[in-house]
């Protein structure tokens, strides 16, 4: 099980939680399982083809997953997957 950190804009889609546990041996599997359990998350971060939208940054243990192996990045017990969309607010 990995811990997925949920950004403020997606918390409603997971019942208000700030973190959610999800199984999977790669970052892609973890997010697929998360989106199966919480389809409203998938609607926001996945394209109709099931790919991650380009505007969604994923960090695995505080490292940019684009610089690791993206969805193939191996994860396991105790790892943290952070979903990080840009925020615009300032006022």
């Amino acid at each position: 099980m990995s811990t997925v950190k949920i950004p403020p804009v997606l918390r409603q889609a997971v019942g208000g939680e700030r973190t959610v546990e999800a199984p999977g041996s790669t970052m892609g599997e973890v997010l697929t399982n998360l989106c199966q359990a919480h389809p409203a998350v998938g609607a926001q971060i996945l394209t109709p083809d099931g790919e991650l939208h380009k505007y969604v940054n994923i960090y695995v243990n505080d490292e940019d997953a684009r610089l690791l192996q993206w969805t193939d990045t191996p994860v396991g017990e105790g790892d943290t997957v952070m979903i990080l969309p840009a925020m615009a607010g300032g006022a």
Binding site: P7, P8, Y55, D64, L84, A86, G89, G90
Partner: protein, 396 residues
Amino acid sequence: MSPSYQDLLAQAREAIPEVEPSDIAPRVESGDGPLIIDVRETAEWDQGHLPGAIHVPRGFLESRIGGVTSGTDQELLISCASGQRSLLAAKTLADMGFSNVTNLAGGFARWKQNNYPVEVPRILSPAQRSRYSRHVLIPEVGEEGQLKLLDSKVLLIGAGGLGSPTAYYLAAAGVGTLGLVDDDVVDESNLQRQIIHTTDRVGMNKGESAKQAIAALNPEVQVNVHPFRVNRDNVLDLLDQYDVVVDGADNFPTRYLMADASLMTRTPLVHSSILRFEGHASTFMPYDGPCYRCLFPEPPPPDLAPSCGEAGVLGVLCGVMGNIQATEAIKVLLGMGDTLSGRLMIYDALGMTFTELKVRRDPDCPSCGPNADLQLRDYEAWCAGVGSHDHAGATA
């Protein structure tokens, strides 16, 4: 018998070699001379000194010399008004183990009589010395740093949640010129967090309102009110007038515009964004570190990117994030410390945690990468369109 003043001078003269101004001036002028330590009092130093000299008043010599020298074998030239105080100071340094110490014969007076170049330091006025005394006391800032702040110009995009604390603290810090870009007026619902505004200024342009608050806090600060929205027609002219830009905008089109314009004008960009209990902050140094688009190549679609007006924001969050921005701006202006360049800081007020993520330059970055064709675009249309397409520039 205790030694007299003359005895002390004679002893020092035996131990310390002296040089005439004519012997050392060529090296000083070419910039490869010894490190010059001027031990006179502040009022004397303020009247002028040898070029490149460092001021260490005699009374602080022993305590401060370690901080300004690289080691006891560094070549030092000690100078005062006539060469006597400096001779005794040089002897003290020799006693402290400095092995390469020379005294300037005749001191600053003889140097000046021979028409060698003199630097007259810019100095803080007595009122400024008092106002900024807590900055001047910090070695990393000091009088020199404070003068630099007074000469600095910072542009703030937005005088709202983030811009309020940022502008207030930068004004207090003595940043000489602040530009405030905001076309909005103060609303009652702003006052829960936009602390630079007041109840009796509801309805006033936010830049004007902030200008009044700043004038009451620090009348020395020049405030330029820009009561319009920044756009691709005015952004480059605006940025050319400032040293650093602080982004406290509340929408993606402005944020991506500022990201590109900061690259085009090579203006450091201090970034923060906020929502509910969470804040992001980073500093983008053009072509030196990653840019905003290395971090976020594309904006999310509007429904995944609510504004504070739509989703709410904890008022005090603005203070934390705005002051992180003010801190970063001051560090960039003074060239001190480690900025957030290459790092995204995420503050979660609910968990009271700061998380730091690494941000690296993207070799394929559409804005700052080597093959980027950087041009200002229609950011409104682009931000409205990228969510439904999934590759950069689809609707540019």
